[in-house]
Amino acid sequence: MTYELRYKPYGERSILIEWPAVIDKNILSDIIRFKEKIQNSNIKHLVEIKNAYNSLLVVYDFYFVDFENEIKTLQELYNQITPDTKSILKQWKIPVCYDTLFAIDLEEMAFEKGLSKTSIITLHSQTVYTVYFIGFLPGFMYLGGLNEKLYTPRKATPRLKIEKGAVAIGGEQTGVYPSESPGGWNIIGNSPITFFNPKNDPPCFVNAGDTIVFEPISLKKYKDIKTLVDAGVYQLESEVVDG
């Protein structure tokens, strides 16, 4: 399906394309389809294209500005019927250790919600999350799909330091801190996986549109995986799913 899109110039050399302001998997698929069309087109002077929940930003070369014309080109491209090429989307299995060593807010969350720690872990790890985009920090995935029972307000006072790999819940979202950072989310576990490595090209294994599942692991397994990750030999499991 196609949507009513809005095109807006954004500064001197970018065009913002907006979809209806809702968080929706179908919109994400349409955004990614359009993004790939632009990437595969012969539009010149492109610097980069990035997306968020309901928008796409097309950034052009410094010295190239003819908005009207560019917007027309983009509109034609969007409406062009192309063979239904399904993008290759992957589902990643992300190991997470929910041990109390890492899960510093799990006890309190369980108490507040009147749920057992085990049922929180089960609810968190039985969902297939959609990666909408990466932002906030290099390698930080914006995930959709958190079970409503796990919605938890952010901490009133953010922590100055959250460990790399911390798996956390903030409001209606869940995510993994790819690097040490200040933050106000509730921490329920830690993943030994490296989500961002500036030495790799691309620096992230995950792409917008992919899905992930969290796989609970023991502290022993966490340490084993961590050793392999640090040695640069850990192979993360993934499977190709229909795009």
């Binding site: 954004y10 500064g11 001197e12 980069e48 929940y53 932002g135 906030f136 620096p203």
Partner: protein, 282 residues
């Protein structure tokens, strides 16, 4: 090689930035004032994207261990070569053993030191620009050794007549375009943005500049969307935040205005207490 004897307040190596990695959450980074940095490079005959040293307010002390040429542009921080004052916007030959230092702050906020051929610090994701978590070091540190090309070639004097646009440092006017959420503001709010003077708050750095005067606001946060350096965000409490080169790739506050590229350069030379005005470009 250049040895850092004293690092200064906030000194980094920057080029024009890291492009093509925004979709992985990687900021652009790069020189804050691209006008002044390019000036220093061009005067030395370097390419504009050559890595330069960005110096903030209080400068470093550097010892050169080879022959080369340098050019200092941007803020005037009273640069000296072996304790003798040197001119800014002027290519200057240095020899092995020479010491470059800085003194009293005269004008501007960020100063650029270019060397012939540029600083050969590590290149990560096609850029030398220092950024926490991307390059090994986010800042220059004491006793750091920076690799440069030794050159005995005399610098190209024909560039020496380039005239610096002094209004770049003096003007209070920042030119802006409407941002994606500009039309959600009331007419009164829109008028206020362009009629009053704003003061740079003490919260100003490579990521963002906050403005002191709040704008009465009833706009809610938006679904996290895309931002760029130069985006002016309006927080629910009415704070205006101007994003700068090290800003995040996404944000959840309404984006009311977008600075022109040249105005980002101008703002980079302002600091706490300076006054600015916003002018709308249609």
């Amino acid at each position: 090689m250049v040895k850092v004897l004293k690092a200064g307040l906030y000194t980094t190596i920057q080029d024009l930035g890291r492009y093509g990695y925004q979709e992985y959450g990687v900021p652009y980074s790069g020189v804050m004032d691209a006008y002044s940095a390019s000036m220093a490079n061009i005067l030395l005959g370097n390419n504009e994207n050559t890595a330069v040293m960005e110096i903030t307010m209080s400068g470093p002390t550097l010892e050169f261990n080879c022959h080369t040429s340098i050019c200092i542009s941007g803020a005037d921080l009273s640069p000296k070569l072996n304790k003798t004052p040197i001119k800014i916007n002027n290519p200057i030959p240095v020899k092995s053993g020479d010491i470059v230092s800085f003194g009293k702050h005269i004008s501007g906020f960020r100063c650029y030191l270019a060397v012939t051929g540029g600083f050969k610090t590590e290149k990560m994701m096609n850029s030398h620009s220092m950024y926490q978590g991307i390059t090994k070091q986010p800042l220059l540190f004491k006793n750091q050794e920076l690799i440069i090309d030794a050159t005995l070639k005399d610098f190209d004097k024909k560039h020496a007549a380039i005239k610096i646009n002094t209004s770049h440092f003096k003007t209070k006017e920042l030119e802006v375009f409407k941002g994606p959420e500009f039309d959600k503001l009331s007419k009164a709010q829109q008028d206020l943005l362009f009629s009053q003077h704003f003061t740079i708050a003490k919260e100003n750095n490579r990521m963002a500049y906050q403005l002191l005067e709040p704008l009465e606001n009833s706009l809610e946060a938006i679904i996290t969307s895309l931002v760029l350096p130069g985006t002016i965000q309006l927080t629910p409490s009415g704070k205006l935040i101007i994003l700068m080169r090290d800003c995040q790739t996404t944000g959840g506050y309404p984006r009311v205005l977008q600075l022109k590229g040249a105005s980002i350069n101008i703002l980079s030379q302002k600091f706490t207490g300076d006054s600015i005005r916003l002018t709308l470009k249609e």
